[in-house]
């Protein structure tokens, strides 16, 4: 249980360190309002065109779907790796079947061409 307090404590300590440093920088730095042009997005010097948060074509979203499938697999493999030495019947075969199914999915995605960046 001590570990979880360390994790939480480190999170709090890290956040306070960053905010303290940004606060110190805010105190000693020079600030001006500047002209309205200063606040424009920096997009190669030309006036920004259209809405940035508008519709946006991300053709590589399939990677995210593949990631979800394989990330869950990773969680199972981590647990399996701890017990693979134990004399459990079919410890290799069960994980082999599980990964084979996923690899089949990867092969299908590969064949369909979603692994090619568009």
């Amino acid at each position: 249980m001590e570990g979880i307090w360390y994790v939480i404590g480190f999170a709090v300590a890290g956040v306070s360190f960053v905010f303290l440093t940004i606060g110190a920088s805010w105190l000693i730095s020079h600030r001006t309002k500047g002209s309205p042009l200063k606040g424009l997005p920096y997009e190669s010097g030309i006036p920004t065109y259209g809405d940035t948060h508008g519709r946006f074509g991300v053709s590589y979203y399939i990677y995210a779907l593949l990631f979800v499938a394989f990330d869950i697999e990773v969680v199972f493999i981590f647990l399996w790796a701890l017990v693979v030495r134990d004399p459990i019947p079919g410890v290799l075969a069960s994980m082999g079947i599980f990964i084979a199914v996923l690899l089949l999915g990867l092969a299908y995605a590969w064949r369909k061409g979603v692994l090619t960046w568009r």
Binding site: W26, I77, F78, L82, R85
Partner: protein, 447 residues
């Protein structure tokens, strides 16, 4: 109000720092004195009863403070090593061989204007560097630096490390989305695509090590590699090391796999709209990440804090300072004076162009060098954790050097090649490694 602002803006940096620091220190000092006088006895009782809390405070403070020189050293290495590889001199103005250049850089970033552009979502914009730096700090929690010198020896240390490392991408996405800049958004989306793609081979590549070790605790993994360098995991898991190294390069956003920042294509990627210290934290985190990745690589594959070979001449130093009694006092008082004079003598006698004062100054500097070296040598011989820390840092900085050197050697790859490589080569290689390891372990038995 405007008069105050105007006065403030006319001040120089030094006077501003003074104006803020002196009253702040006075007030803090007064409050601290009163509080200590009132609260010291109960506070000591409380801390004595909660030694775990004391340990946590020390661990958190040390790790946060240590990240600062780590980043400075790596930035200096990057400036100097890449300069040497490009047949340039590199920084040589500030400090000896330009060693203070990165510190000055850091102070410059600290004192620069931290501007918030008009279109940004201010709260997310500010929290993004916090999120990025937080993942770096939290990764340090499970890195064992020496026997007993680990913030917390979690039994799921590796799972925790990769889970926290994966959160990095959330900070990058926050930065890209909140910036309201198309380059930032494209950079952040690329960062997300790259990070999640390389996350899979990165985590899968260490499964072989977990199978060999039978545990996810980093200290246990290091302890199992003790002995000579022949016991290191790198000999049993060479393919895993290769996959891990490539994936770690991508995860730490280092060239040649740093598509998230690709300057030529995306201005500065997710960091385009940032300035001042909020910008600084992205790069602070990136450089500390280089160290974190190198350190975890050393822990997993290169035996962590264990020495690569047995010291051929075991030095036994039985030195008990207390046994000298009153003589110790004389030693402490006389050693600097005698050392300075003795070390100054050759310069004073050898060259007539050096004045007495200069000779004494040189002697004093040399004495300090000798004394620090002697102290470090004594600590190295006397304490186990100093030896461990030495080897851990030495091995880690070798890999930091490799990361720096890679940046000057390889051109950046194209984004489509980058993504294809992760899914078509690294992922099958990592899975192959797992199965070969698992089959070997079950054939050999509990070897």
């Amino acid at each position: 109000m405007t008069a105050v602002t105007g006065y403030w803006n006319r001040l120089s940096l030094a006077s501003r720092a003074l104006l803020v620091l002196v009253p702040a220190l006075l007030v803090l000092g007064g409050v601290a004195t009163v509080a200590l006088a009132l609260l010291l006895p109960p506070l000591l009782d409380f801390l004595g009863a909660n030694l775990g809390l004391v340990r946590f405070i020390i661990a958190a403070t040390v790790i946060i403070v240590v990240t600062i020189p780590t980043a400075f050293v790596i930035i200096y290495m990057e400036l100097k090593v890449i300069a040497r590889m490009n047949l340039r001199v590199g920084p040589d103005r500030v400090g000896p061989f330009g060693a203070a250049q990165s510190v000055v850089h850091g102070l410059k970033v600290l004192s620069k204007e931290d501007y918030t552009p008009a279109g940004v979502d201010v709260s997310v914009f500010t929290l993004a560097p916090v999120a990025v730096f937080l993942t770096t700090i939290m990764s340090f929690l499970v890195i064992p630096f020496a026997p007993g010198l680990v913030a917390q020896d979690l039994n799921i240390a590796l799972l925790y490390f990769f889970a926290i490392g994966g959160l990095n991408v959330v900070g990058l996405m926050m930065a890209g989305w909140a910036s309201y800049n198309k380059y930032s958004l494209i950079g952040a989306l690329r960062a997300a695509a790259q990070a999640i793609s390389y996350e899979i081979p990165l985590t899968l590549s260490v499964v072989g090590v977990i199978i060999l070790a039978g545990t996810m605790s980093t200290t246990a993994i290091v302890a199992q590699q003790s002995g000579s360098f022949l016991d290191w995991n790198v000999w049993k898991q060479p393919l895993a090391l290769l996959v891990f190294f490539i994936a770690a390069t991508a995860e730490a956003n280092r060239t040649p796999l740093d598509m998230t920042e690709a300057d030529q294509e995306l201005v500065a990627g997710f960091a385009t709209e940032y300035s001042g210290m909020r910008f600084g934290f992205f790069f602070f985190a990136e450089y500390v990440n280089v160290f974190v990745v190198s350190a975890i690589m050393v822990v997993l594959f290169f035996g962590g804090w264990t020495a690569p070979f047995d010291w051929p001449f075991p030095v036994q130093l039985a030195l008990d300072p207390a046994s000298l009694g009153i003589g110790l006092l004389f030693l402490i008082a006389l050693a600097p004076v005698l050392g300075t004079v003795i070390l100054a003598l050759p310069f004073w006698l050898g060259s007539s162009r050096i004045s007495t004062l200069q000779a004494l100054l040189i002697g004093f500097v040399l004495f300090n060098v000798v004394a620090v070296a002697a102290l470090l040598g004594w600590a190295f011989v006397s304490f186990d954790w100093v030896v461990g820390l030495f080897w851990m840092l030495a091995k880690s900085y070798v890999f930091v050097f490799v990361f720096v050197q890679m940046r000057a050697t390889f051109p950046r790859v194209r984004i489509d090649q980058l993504m294809g490589f992760a899914w078509k080569w690294l992922l099958p290689a990592a899975l192959l490694n797992i199965f070969v390891t698992a089959i070997a372990v079950s054939l050999v038995g509990k070897g």
